[in-house]
Symmetry: C2
Subunit: 243 residues, 2 copies
């Protein structure tokens, strides 16, 4: 049974300001909640679940049994799915910038695109994704769900990409643009930074000036552009070490 204050608390977590203040965010669905419960980087604050969801590792003090209509009331999914959990924001050790590849996002607006990019980073073993202040919040419910659990493995930080590029001039910096060098002619790298820009405006000029290697995915047909997450996936598949 849900109390009024629980409902109010969960609804507040729909707002970035409250998520930042509480250092908490929401995860939904049994698959992703279980994955987060098993991650060393995330700690549950409270779980709201219907009877079908059973998990031995959750202590009673963390669990509130609810009914389907109650789940529907607090869920932000079109099809609510067994469980909604509140987690502490994940904790990670400081990034090893000079030993790894980082993905730098300049103004990714769509939370679904942002979450998908974090999932792609996880697939390619990219340990950190750095977001400009103009990028949307990774703890937005849609972004979290789109990560499919990768939010517990990839360190997502908010810091201006130009600060980082200026701080590590020895690291090669790449950027996805429409008139750069042919991506297929680039060598794979073990360390560096890869910048992905806003869905419609691309990368800001002042940031692009700092990037030594603007690269382009060769276009054969006539589409004006590619979705930002698709472009990120293609670029990583050509630049990161192969299997």
């Amino acid at each position: 049974m849900l109390s009024k204050s629980q409902i109010k608390y969960i609804q507040s977590l729909g707002h970035k300001k409250f998520r930042d203040q509480e250092r908490a965010f929401i995860v939904e669905g049994p698959k992703m909640v279980r994955e987060m419960l098993n991650s060393p980087n995330t700690r549950p604050i409270h779980i709201y679940a219907v009877a079908e969801f059973t998990d031995a590792v959750i202590g009673d003090h963390l669990l509130t049994r609810i009914r389907e209509p109650e789940l529907e009331r607090i869920s932000s999914l079109v099809t609510p799915n067994q469980v909604l959990a509140v987690f502490e924001k994940p904790g990670f050790p400081p990034p090893q910038w000079t030993n790894s590849i980082s993905l730098l996002l300049d103004g990714i607006q769509d939370p679904g695109n942002l979450g998908t990019i974090v999932r792609i980073a996880d697939w390619f073993g990219i340990p950190q994704v750095v977001c400009s202040s103009s990028t949307s919040d990774i703890f937005n419910a849609k972004a979290v769900q789109a990560t499919m659990g990768s939010i517990s493995r990839v360190h997502v930080l908010y810091e201006e990409p130009e600060t980082l590029i200026r701080k590590y001039p020895e690291l090669p910096a790449y950027a996805a643009v429409l008139d750069g060098r042919n991506l297929y002619h680039m060598e794979r790298v073990h360390r560096g930074m890869i910048v992905i820009g806003n869905e419609s405006r691309g990368i800001r000029g002042e940031l692009l000036k700092l990037v030594a290697h603007p690269v382009t995915i060769p276009r054969i047909g006539q589409a004006e552009s590619l979705n930002a997450a698709v472009a990120a996936g293609i670029i990583l598949s050509h630049l990161v070490p192969g299997g």
Copy 2:
């Protein structure tokens, strides 16, 4: 000014059955509507637009001027944008299967993914996308908008992928799977078929049996899978002729 029967007609086009019967579908927003108006493959049936939208090529008999609240009533976008147009479904010459690369979709469920895949096909110059009957409808409003106009350039057909693979045994067939050959070791091709499977279940076993080249995007990290559109983009970038 919108009539009741116009509103009813536009709303009916939200249903696949009615779209099939009328051979018509809806496109929204000035950029995409203009692109469709300029395409040789698509013909407008009627345009509903607010005063900001002006286009010299539309005859008066095709245009109904409406006000913002009327556009909001008929639009399926979160932010309605100047114009909603009804178009005839595009017409294309029969595919040249043996001279080109085709993308075959086995049960892509999400209309946004489907539209994004058609946009990717357009970028890489893939002339046709073949959808299994279990794939969602490309003329669904969300799918149309996700193509960003590529629906007027890429021929999307509904036919079972296995029928096509059996019909052209001389064409190399590739499929995106989790345990195939390393994509990065494959040669680029000028003709063939590439199968992309359902977002969670992948490709059906009976279809996969017909595919000579199952390929895998090497995974370095821990994400369980990649989004279907992202996987399609990565595979095309490694298999189609480079720029």
